[in-house]
Point group: C2
Chain length 342, copies 2
DNA sequence: CTTCGATTTGCACGCGTGTGCAAGAATGCT
DNA sequence: AGCATTCTTGCACACGCGTGCAAATCGAAG
C-alpha cells in the first residue's frame, strides 16, 4: 500500500487522484466525505478504499472556501501559563474539538495592539467564531468580525458590546459572600488585595466587596499593584503587615494573590492562618487545594462556561443575538478562614 | 465609512470588490498584499485605501490553497493545564506568531486514538509543520505527515522517528547531578518518586538517577503511581514515610510531584526540609519558587527549545532532515536540599 | 521623434473542493 | 410491459486568491 504513496514526494493527494483510482467522478469522492450526501454504499466503499490507499485527507482550506465555514474557532487569550486560564483553555479546546471545531490560539499578551492583530488573523482565516478571554478588542475591529458574520464571544469581559455574546461570573454575589464570611468569622480589620491590572472582573470583585463591607459599617485597607501573580500577593502581604494597624483578614481577588499573601504572612511574620489572619481567594486553582494553602475560595464555573460557549458557537449564524449570561461561582470551603467568632 | 460595510450583511468582502472600488484589476489587489510583488506606489495606496474602507482581509484559506502553504502550525499537546506545559505552550505560541504562523492547538488527552485524530486534522488543514509535545503518534500517520511535506517536530519524546526533528533535554546529566547532590548533602537513603505514566522523559530521569546511585553503591526506594500531579506526590510522600526505613532524600521527576512530597512530609509527619529530608525536583515551575517550597530543581530550557523549534519550522521544506538536539536543564539551587554534609 | 529597456498592468489559468442541475439507473406499482 | 418515482452520478460552475505571460505604459537615451 505504501509504494504508491512513496513514489510521490512531499505533496498532498487530491480528490482527483482518488477518483481516478476508484474509477468514479471527482464529485463522488466529495460526496463520500460529506455526511448526508447522496451516494450509494458501493461507490462510497470504493472511494474510501482508494482514499485509504493513497492517504487522502480532505483539504479543509478548500472545503472552507466553498462552504463559507472554515471550521476554525479562534481563542484570543493572554497569560496562558496562569493556572486559571490554562485550565479554561484546556476545557474549551477539548470541548470545541469534540464539537468538530479546530481551535486556533491567538496569544495576545496584554497590549491592545496585539489583540487587534489577533482579531485580524481571526478574519484572515475566516473563523466561524472568536472567543475573547482577555484583552479588550477595539470596537472597530470587533464590529468587522460581527459584520462578517462571525460569532463573537467575550468571556469574563464585563465591558459590553452590541451583538455580542457575553459570558461572565457573578462577581457581586461572590464578593458579598466573602465580606459576609469575614464578618462572621469575627474578623475586624479586613483588607482587599488586587493587582494593578484593572481587569473588569477584578474591579467588580473589589467594588462589590468594599460595598458590602460599607453596608456593614466596615472599611477595608486596599492594596493594589503589580501583575496578577503570586509575587504581587507576597508583596501585598508583606506591606500590609508592616502597617501600623495590620489587617486580620484578606480577600484576594485571585488565588495566586492569596497564595502570595499567605506565604508572606506566615513566613515573614509568623502569623497563623486562619487564627491570626483569615484569607479568602477566587478561582479555585489547583494550588488552592494543596495542603500548604487549603484556601477557602470561589470556584470558577469552568464546565458551565465551556458548555455554554460551545452552544453559542454551534448555533446557526442567523440567530446570533446579543446576550449576556452569568454563572455563579460556588464557595469552596476550606481552612484558611475561621468559620465562627473566636 | 461604515455605511457601505453596513449595507452588506454577514458576509466577507473579496478582492474583487476592493478592485472595483479602487478602479483597478483584481490582480492589483492581490499584489498590493503580496510583499515584493511588482506594483506602483500609487495603485498600492489606492488599493489600501479601498481595502480599509470596505474592511477587506485577505482570505488565508484561499491564499493557502494557492501557495501550498497554509501558514498554520499545529501543536499536539495534552495536559495543557499543567504548569510546565502551559508555560511551554505560552512561549511557543507567542514565538510562532511572531514568525508569522498561526497556531492551531490540538488537545489530545492521553489516548493514542486522540493523537491520531489530531494528526489527521493537521493533514486536513495542510499545516506547514506539526509539533508534538505529548503522546506518541502512530507511525503510519506520522509517515503520512512527512510524505506530505510537513515538518514533524517531536519535543521531549525520546522515542525516535525517521525524518523527524527531535528536541529533548539532557535528562541524563540532570539526573546524575541530582544523585550527586544528594550524596554530597550527606543523605543516605534516597528515594525516587515518579508517576505511573511511563513517559520517555520521566523514565529517562528515573533510570539515569538510579544508575548514578548504583555507581556510588547506593540503592533507592522507588515509588511510582498515579498521574503526574501533586496528589500523586502527596501520596508518595505519605507512603514512603510509613515505611520501616523511610528515605531521607527524594528526587521527584517533576516539580508537581516534589511539591506533593514536601507537603506530605512536612504536614503529615512534621519533618523539616531540608534537614530531615531533602527534596529535589524537575521543571522549575512557578510554584517551585514560591516561598512555601523554595524547591531546588532543574530548569526546563523553554526559551532555547522555543527558539530552536521556530528555526526548524521556518527552514525550507527541501532541507528537512532528521535531526536530534538536546538542551541542558540548568540546576536551580534553592533551599530544599542541604548543600553539605551535616 | 524614434528606440529601447524597465516597470506596471490585466488577462486567464489553476489551486481543491461543494453542489445545483439534468441525465441516467434502479425500483415499485399497475 | 409501461409508467412513475426515488436514487445515483457526472458535468460544470463557483469559492477567493496567486502568478506567468504578454500587452501596455513610462522614462530616458539617441
Amino acid at each position: 500500500m505504501s509504494e504508491a504513496a512513496n513514489r510521490r514526494q512531499a505533496t498532498f493527494v487530491s480528490a482527483e487522484e482518488v477518483a481516478r483510482l476508484a474509477g468514479v467522478s471527482r464529485s463522488a469522492v466529495s460526496r463520500a466525505f460529506t455526511p448526508g450526501a447522496s451516494i450509494s454504499v458501493e461507490t462510497r466503499q470504493r472511494v474510501e478504499a482508494a482514499a485509504a490507499q493513497l492517504g487522502y485527507h480532505v483539504n479543509h482550506l478548500a472545503r472552507g472556501l466553498m462552504r463559507h465555514e472554515s471550521g476554525i474557532v479562534c481563542l484570543v487569550v493572554a497569560d496562558i501559563h496562569t493556572p486559571y486560564l490554562s485550565r479554561l483553555l484546556d476545557y474549551l479546546s477539548r470541548a470545541l474539538q469534540e464539537a468538530g471545531k479546530a481551535v486556533m490560539v491567538l496569544n495576545a499578551g496584554r497590549a491592545t495592539k496585539n489583540v487587534e492583530a489577533a482579531l485580524r488573523q481571526t478574519l484572515n482565516y475566516r473563523a466561524d467564531a472568536t472567543i475573547v478571554l482577555s484583552g479588550t478588542p477595539y470596537r472597530s475591529i470587533a464590529r468587522q468580525c460581527l459584520e462578517s458574520g462571525q460569532r463573537l464571544i467575550l468571556i469574563n469581559r464585563d465591558d459590553h458590546f452590541e451583538q455580542t455574546v457575553g459570558i461572565s461570573v457573578d462577581h457581586a454575589k461572590a464578593a458579598q459572600t466573602a465580606a459576609m464570611l469575614i464578618r462572621r468569622g469575627g474578623y475586624r480589620r479586613p483588607a482587599l488585595v488586587s493587582s494593578g491590572i484593572g481587569t473588569p472582573s477584578l474591579n467588580a470583585r473589589r467594588d462589590h466587596f468594599l460595598e458590602a463591607l460599607r453596608m456593614a459599617d466596615l472599611t477595608a485597607q486596599v492594596w493594589e499593584g503589580g501583575p496578577t501573580a503570586y509575587q504581587s500577593g507576597f508583596q501585598a502581604g508583606t506591606e500590609l503587615m508592616t502597617l501600623p494597624e495590620p489587617p486580620d483578614a484578606v480577600f484576594a481577588v485571585t488565588d495566586l494573590l492569596a497564595c502570595g499573601v499567605m506565604d508572606a504572612v506566615r513566613q515573614r511574620f509568623n502569623k497563623r492562618v486562619p487564627d491570626d489572619i483569615g484569607v479568602i481567594g477566587f478561582d479555585d486553582i489547583d494550588q488552592a487545594s494543596w495542603s500548604s494553602y487549603d484556601l477557602t475560595t470561589f470556584s470558577q464555573p469552568v464546565e458551565a462556561i465551556t458548555a455554554y460557549t460551545v452552544r453559542m458557537v454551534e448555533q446557526k449564524s442567523a440567530e446570533i443575538q446579543a446576550s449576556s449570561r452569568t454563572f455563579e461561582a460556588p464557595l469552596i470551603w476550606r481552612s484558611s478562614l475561621r468559620a465562627t467568632l473566636p
